[in-house]
């Protein structure tokens, strides 16, 4: 079964829009068709925006639990050291989390930092993709 790592740019839209690709991808996790993983750091990123997105931290945690998303414990600065050359400092925890949890895909909507060609190339064998691209594969 494929393992996917979700960053905040996927979890936030999934919380806000049930018809979007992120929410539908999370349904595949809930139905145990794929394994969904995130990290404590990503959850904290989402929670930091709780006022902005109109969801309190408890609702966010409930959403993660209800959808059977596994949470990797905090990625530390030491752990990110091996991946610092791949991506900018504030996003390195995402790539590190995906690599340490041995995920096949890192799913993100972050065009600016993670979906850049050079990052996608450097992160291999981890595949960085969007919910839409992964869903297209899943329905084939």
């Amino acid at each position: 079964m494929i393992k996917i790592f979700l960053d905040a740019s996927v979890i936030i839209p999934a919380l806000l829009s049930p018809t979007g690709g992120s929410a539908k991808l999370i349904k595949f996790i809930k139905l145990k068709a794929v394994i969904g993983i995130t990290s404590q750091n990503v959850i904290e990123e989402v929670e930091r925006n709780s006022v902005k997105i109109g969801k309190n931290p408890q609702e966010i945690r409930q959403f993660i639990n209800d959808n059977l998303i596994l949470i990797r414990n905090k990625v530390t600065s030491t752990e990110t050291k091996l991946y610092k050359s791949i991506v900018v400092e504030k996003d390195v925890h995402v790539v590190t989390g995906a690599r340490l949890t041995k995920c096949d895909f890192l799913v993100t909507l972050d065009q600016k930092h993670l979906l850049k060609q050079e990052v996608v190339r450097a992160a291999k064998p981890l595949k960085i993709t969007t919910p839409k691209e992964l869903l297209t594969e899943l329905v084939k």
């Binding site: 839209p13 018809t19 595949f28 139905l31 930091r48 990625v75 504030k90």
Partner: protein
């Protein structure tokens, strides 16, 4: 987890194995939460080798309203794909 700071100096003689590997005593590994795959900081100071367990949190990002709006826009699915996904999900539910 036991606090090493409250215990006297702990020393062990370790044998260097092939390729410079050493086995850290199990009790120390358990106390320090050193699991396979975990990364630690190694430092050479004179004739001492210090292995440090760091739990410093990695820096992370906060997002602007514009970024969130852009994600929501990019997250929209074409109607055809959306229908195909719903059908697949229905199949999975009935399995």
């Amino acid at each position: 987890m036991k606090q090493l700071a409250t215990t006297p100096l702990q020393q062990e003689y370790l044998r260097i194995l092939g390729k410079g590997m050493v086995t850290i005593p199990k009790e120390w590994r358990d106390e320090l939460g050193l699991e396979e795959g975990k990364i630690v900081k190694a430092e050479k100071v004179g004739n001492k080798l210090i292995i440090e367990v760091s739990e410093e949190k990695a820096p992370y990002r906060t997002f602007s309203d514009t970024e969130i709006e852009q994600w929501l826009e990019a997250d929209k699915l074409p109607k055809k794909l959306s229908r195909e996904i719903d059908l697949k999900l229905k199949e999975l539910k009935s399995d």
